[in-house]
Every structure is written in structure tokens, then in C-alpha cells.
């Protein structure tokens, strides 16, 4: 039996937290992986796995759906996650995104939490102009545009976010992203390159949609971010929520090390 202070106010009657919650006893959360076939190459599975396990540990069942181009879109998704890919994959995904745009935008407006990394982050903006001169239209969830750069921005990165504290990870992108005037960044760069390597911003946040260049290890090493997505989803689905704090000692150690490593 653990006594816990919830990050969030508890709904009366939701019971006191125990560490022996019946698996799935608190209800089901529907996790949707966007385009895992084309956009999964940088350890993005780590984000999905982190959400899945952290939900399960809190007593929620998890339904996991892969959404690939041409599938019927699961409009009842509670959390949507998607990652980075090769240029070839990005083209297929771009075409499919246009076809699901109306449903997707509805989910965004409705406050559904989403995490878009790298390639998908770029396509969540207005457009991506490749270095070859091609223009891939995005869906415009974020007010930003991306231009292909000559050099990849690669390395360990540390950023600071008002909402989520220090965010630590690894960036690997050649696209340079410029935020529009009103676009809120996810964080400010402390060490590393960030969106365009110049303006000191990293990622973007609109409503409950988070975009970032920090790869696969983003959520495992940044549990605060993972729990925010989870809390948002649970609140939206069940209108009440309670998240038991988890033991994040390993994540804390991994964060300390990552912060100290050369770029």
C-alpha cells in the first residue's frame, strides 16, 4: 500500500490508490501509432511503449492500434503518437495525412493529446520544402514551415520548458523549422540546435498536440511529458483522473548521464 499525493485533484469516489490496481480495472485507453510502417526508424517505439506501460501500471487497459496509409482511421483514439522516417516514407504519409485531415483536425480541436516527432512534426506544420526543391504540404496543426538543410543537426540536446521542466534527448534532423509569429515552442534550447539551429526554440505546442525533434527516447527519459499526455487522455475520456506517481529512479539517472554527455 502506498500513500500518494496525486498531481491532480481526485474525483470523489474514485477510491484511494493502491499498488495492486486490477489490471485494466480503471478502464481502457486507446493508443494510436501513426504510420509505424513508414515512420518508425529512430526508436519511436519507445514513446508508445512508455505510454502503454505507464498506463498499465496505473490500472488502465491499453488498446494499441497501428494506423498506416490507407487503413480506416481510428477516430476514437485517445492518444496519437508518430515518429520520424525516411524521405520516401514521408511522401506516402503526406498524401495520407491530407485524406484524414478533417478527422484529425476535429480531434485536435477537441483536445486530444498527440505527440509528433521529427518527420511527423514537420508534416503537422504548413509545409516541408525538401532540399531537392519539392514541397510537401502539411496539415497545418502547427503554424510553422520547414526547409531541408544541407547539414544534419545531430546530437544530444537539453531544453527547458515552462510546463514540463527540463527535456532531454537526442536530435537528428536536416529540416530547419521556422515557427510562425504566434506559435508556442515546446521548449527553449539550453544545449543543442533545436528547430532551426538559430532561434533557440525546440518543438511546438498547440492545444494538446506536442511536436519535437527529440527522437525515440523522448518519453522514456522525460516521464513528466509522458504523464501529461496520459493525464490529458484519461481526463478527456473519463472526465475524472488520478495518476499514481511511479518510481522513476532509472529515468532520473539516465537523464543525469545524458545531460553530461558530449554532443
Amino acid at each position: 500500500m502506498t500513500t500518494t499525493t496525486s498531481m491532480f485533484p481526485q474525483t470523489p469516489g474514485s477510491g484511494s490508490p493502491t499498488d495492486t490496481v486490477e489490471p485494466g480495472g480503471l478502464g481502457e485507453i486507446h493508443l494510436v501509432q501513426l504510420y509505424p510502417r513508414d515512420m518508425n526508424i529512430y526508436g519511436d517505439w519507445g514513446n508508445t511503449l512508455t505510454l502503454k506501460r505507464r498506463l498499465e501500471k496505473r490500472g488502465y487497459g491499453v488498446k494499441l492500434t497501428d494506423y498506416n496509409p490507407g487503413d480506416s482511421f481510428p477516430a476514437d483514439g485517445d492518444i496519437l503518437v508518430g515518429g520520424g522516417g525516411q524521405d520516401s516514407g514521408q511522401f506516402r504519409v503526406m498524401e495520407d495525412l491530407q485524406s484524414i485531415k478533417p478527422v484529425l483536425m476535429q480531434l485536435v480541436d477537441d483536445g486530444a493529446p498527440m505527440l509528433a516527432i521529427c518527420g511527423l512534426y514537420q508534416l503537422f506544420g504548413h509545409e516541408f520544402r525538401t532540399i531537392g526543391g519539392q514541397t510537401l504540404p502539411g496539415v497545418g496543426i502547427f503554424d510553422l514551415t520547414t526547409v531541408g538543410g544541407e547539414q544534419r543537426l545531430i546530437g544530444n540536446i537539453v531544453t527547458e520548458s515552462e510546463k514540463f521542466g527540463t527535456i532531454i534527448g537526442y536530435e537528428n534532423h536536416s529540416g530547419l523549422t521556422k515557427l510562425g509569429a504566434g506559435q508556442q515552442p515546446l521548449a527553449r534550447v539550453v544545449a543543442g540546435a533545436g528547430n532551426d539551429g538559430q532561434d533557440g526554440t525546440e518543438g511546438a505546442v498547440t492545444k494538446e498536440v506536442i511536436g519535437s525533434y527529440l527522437h525515440g527516447s523522448l518519453l522514456p527519459k522525460n516521464p513528466a511529458l509522458a504523464d501529461h499526455l496520459i493525464a490529458t487522455a484519461v481526463r478527456r475520456r473519463y472526465s475524472h483522473y488520478h495518476l499514481e506517481p511511479l518510481n522513476d529512479t532509472l529515468a532520473t539517472k539516465a537523464r543525469e548521464v545524458a545531460q553530461s554527455r558530449p554532443r
Binding site: 501509432q33 526508436g43 519507445g46 511503449l49 497501428d66 537528428n172 539516465a254
Partner: protein
Amino acid sequence: MSRPLVRLLGQGVRAATKMRGGGSAFPGLVMEKLHPGFVAEQLARLPHGVVVVSGTNGKTTTTKMAVQLLESQGLKVFTNRTGSNFVRGVAASLLEEISLTGRFDADIAVLELDEAHAVHFVRQVKPRFALLLNVMRDQLDRFGEIDTTRQMLAQVAAATTEAVILNREDPRIASLAQDVQPDTRVLWYGLSEQLRPMFPSDDDMRAADGPAAPTPEGAPQPEPVVELAHFEATDVDFLVHGQPAQAKVHLYGVYNVYNAAGALALALTVTDDGRAVKAAGAGVESLLDELSRVTPAFGRGETITVGETPLQLLLVKNPAGFRLSLASAKPEAYATMIAINDEYADGRDVSWLWDVEFDSLRAGGVDLVTGTRAWDMALRLDYDQVPIQEVEPDLTESLHKFITAADGRPMRVFCTYTAMLSLRRALRAVADVPEI
């Protein structure tokens, strides 16, 4: 400076570096500066030309197999043995080979080349044969994208004059057939349908059971020179030009067994063309015989005996390799240590660990997690619910704890490149460790 003088100078530098125990590429660097065409000139003299082996996984062991197979057919083979697979490394190996009188006594060169350096190399030297293995996520942080790696290998394929041997089951390698010059033959090695699921390509590599990536439509499977039909432990069944052929392969890991099919296809192709075979009795039988005599290259499943207990060192550098290493033995039978460093040579990015499934370690657990990124590795294992006995970032400290904890159980250590170098050094205190 006259040419022979330049060469002697290079050899002098080589001797000097060797005495200091210095890096093997340095004399090559000097040579390259003094005489840029040196490597091309020397290799152009080889009667049977140059073979390039490239790809992201298994180059070193495959090159070793190819060299032994060709030597068994009576060929004198020059290779870049030291493992410095750069143009400079080739120059350094050349200097060592060439006697002081300037004679380069070899029939053929078989060179292991890194994808990026292969591109530079083929600008200077046109290979007669190329064996291209695979394109897997490796060193992504250096080359950026696997499609970029494919482009590099396309240049190797396009520069090859006689025959290009391709892995039929790797979609990026298979697509290189279209980059080969019209006069150059395209040959294949492949897997039986039964074995294909054991070797997932990067496109369908993911922990969740998603649908496999679609195969290119309409393309009929080309007939391979060598097909890996079936294997169990060290007993391997090939189909050579469609005919069954058995061999023993004493190499660790399923990937090495598959690469043996590639090396065999290469040796058959080189010796088939009639000009290369010197020895009597050349042919499939003697090649299969020789294959059984190949031992693992450094770090590719090398076993070191500590006291009386075997300790196996397994190099891991990408999801496919790690996954296959994990699958190649029952984990519960071993004490397990995982050593993850993030030095430049390892790759600074450790996110690829999230694309490896560690479920198979759950039953037996992991004894020690070590290396600069020990905590990242521990975090990864924790999310796969694998029990961990101890996390100790210091490699030497860990090694001693591990040997004690193993308590007579055979040991397996999965390690990144620089972690392996450190562990081999630390092992010298307690075991006989061969020089690299």
C-alpha cells in the same frame, strides 16, 4: 621524390608506428599525402582484380570467410586484415605486404570497406566484384538516413566491372540491381522462404506485431547462386545453383550463417570465371570444407575462457544485430551482461535500443548493466520488465562483479564497440585474450 623512395618512406613510417604500437591507418595517411595514386596503382596490377565487401552488418566476418574460401582455391589473397576499413587502412596494409624490393605478390584483393569510404575508394579503383550485404540502421547519426547508405552502395555497384553479388532479401540491396552497368552481371544470394521471417528487414522491425512492409509488387524472385535453405546449430544446408550442399559453420549468430551464403556465392563467382582457379580439386566441395574452418573475427562472437568458464563477447550496434544476437541462444542458460557506450565510434545516439525487444531476457534476467549509457540501458530493460541485478557504469568494475556473479555459468556479454575494446583490455588480467 621518386616513387620507390616514397614507398620506402611509407614503410619506414609503418615500422616506426608499429614499434610505438600506433594506429594502423597512420602510415597509410602519410602515403596518401606523398603519393595519392599509390593504392590504385598497386591494386591495378593484381591479375584477378579487386573484390569489395560492403554493407552495414557483418563485413568483417564475411570478408574473413571470403578470403579463406579463395585461399583454399590456391589464390594468394591480399586483404585489409587490421580492420581499418578505410582507403588509408588499405594503403597501410599494402605497405606491409609489399616487400622492400617493391613486389606486391598477390592474385586478388578482398577488401572490407565502410559504406562511406567505399564511395571514395571506387573513385580510385574499379572493383571487379562487389558483395553487398545489407543496409540496416547503423551509424544513423553519422550518415543520417539509411536511404543515404543505399545511395553510397549504389555507387559501388555502378563502379563494379564484372559481377555484383546482392542479398536478395534486403529490399534496399536488391534494388541496387538497377544501378549496375549493363555489362556487369547481377548475381544473388538469398534465404529459403522458411527462413525469411528469421531475418526481418529494418522496415518491418518493430516490437509491436504490425503488418510487414509490402514487398515490391510484381518482381519475381531471382534465382540465387547460393540459398541458405535451413540450419540447426552448426549444421547448415545450402542450395548451390539449386543443388543441396551441406556445411558446418562454426560462427556465432544467425547473421553469420546467412553471410556465409554470401561469401560462398562470391567465392563461386570469382573461381567460376575460370581465370582464377589454380588449385586442383577446386569446387563446391572444397569450398564447403574450408567454410567449416572459419573462426569468428574479433568481437563477432569471440569466446574467451575465464578460469574454466567461457565468456562470449557479442558486438551490438543496431536493432537487427542485437535482436539476432539475443535470439541465437537460450538466455536462461547464461549469465548476462550488457555494456552500452556512446563514444563516437559506438554512435552517440542510443535511441535505437528502443527498437530491440528484450522480452527473451525476462525469465533469466540481466546480471550487470554497464557502460557510459548503463542507465539508459537499464531504463530500456525496465520497460520490457526484465529484472536487473545491478547497474554499474564502470566497465572494469562491472566485469569483475559479473564474473563473480556468474559463479560458473557460461557468460554472454552484449557490448558496443568501444565497450568491447575496454572489456577485452580488462579481461587480460584474468584470461588469455588474443591480440587484435
